[in-house]
Symmetry: C2
Subunit: 190 residues, 2 copies
């Protein structure tokens, strides 16, 4: 049965053996858990700009993609843009949705919980009195974000919330956004 | 000179008259400042998922795009993915970069500050001891994010940091990420 043993055990499409091998490798060499993610952004004029995603540091070494990923940003006409791409606060919702989903799927896989389908909707409120300095009591950012997950999974109804909490409880973006992150900024002449 | 007066005044590519008209409209009808942004996300299996961006509420009405924008997410092989798209924490950096840049460009335009070029780099650290529950003292999210802006602008060196602070000081994503946002999550069966 040597051949069968070599097949990776897939749960939710995740190679669970690789997942546990990664955890074992971190236990053996803690420094490989330190990741550094990066992007470069270039202004394209007015409401448009573009990020390039390529290299990162992780697993103890510098890594890069086969090809860089380009991420675009624009604003709709109601926010003085050309509406050629999602806007920054929509990209933030995507980052949050993607991270909760992947974190949920990975941690469910590690526990042997099979998930067949996941759909989610995210919405958040922003009052432009903040952005335009019209009311100092109104924040610039999201006042609140509401999330709904729909799951198809081999679990009783009362376990569905727990499965989603595997996502929110482990997601780097959920933690970053709900608890805040220190951001330092420098500026120089080009 | 009627024709010349009809031309919008462009600063940094931004129609400054439209910007001030928007502010005046909000002062006249405060409720139009309330925006609601949304995405829908669908899991594609394992490390991959996709968000659809289309409708939003703002300027007192429901609005939608000419066509929906699709945003992809994946993980690199080092994080058990197929590396076909930027990962969620990279999307978060893009949202932050895009928002600071647009906020800076708009608020500089409102003040008549001409900017010729903007490039920025963003990086952040994540220790997977958090994600994998290997050390409860390590957070799941970014431990810190470092940002550098390079500007080409008609301003003395000591004003460059102030111009960038027009961005960080008004950016909805910068505020959301540095100060945190309440996120409520519900789950249901599909």
């Amino acid at each position: 049965m040597a051949t069968a043993q070599k097949l990776p055990r897939l749960v939710n499409g995740v190679r669970v053996d690789d997942l546990f091998n990664t955890i074992d490798a971190i236990k053996a060499t803690p420094s490989i858990a330190k990741f550094n993610f990066r992007i470069k952004n270039q202004w394209q004029g007015a409401s448009q700009n573009r990020s390039t995603v390529n290299t990162f540091h992780g697993a103890g070494r510098e890594l890069s993609r086969k090809q860089p990923f380009l991420l675009e940003a624009d604003e709709p006409a109601a926010l003085l843009g050309k509406d050629e791409a999602a806007n920054p606060v929509e990209h933030l919702l995507h980052a949050l949705a993607a991270c909760i989903t992947t974190s949920m799927v990975y941690h469910a896989a590690a526990r042997g919980i099979e998930i067949q389908a996941v759909e989610s909707s995210f919405e958040g409120d922003i009052d432009l009195h903040g952005f335009f300095d019209l009311d100092k009591s109104v924040r610039k950012g999201y006042q609140g974000i509401r999330v709904n997950f729909k799951l198809k999974a081999d679990a009783p109804d009362d376990k569905l919330q727990e499965i989603v909490e595997l996502g929110t409880g482990h997601s780097p973006v959920f933690d970053s956004l709900t608890n805040g992150v220190p951001v330092s900024v420098t500026a120089q002449r080009m």
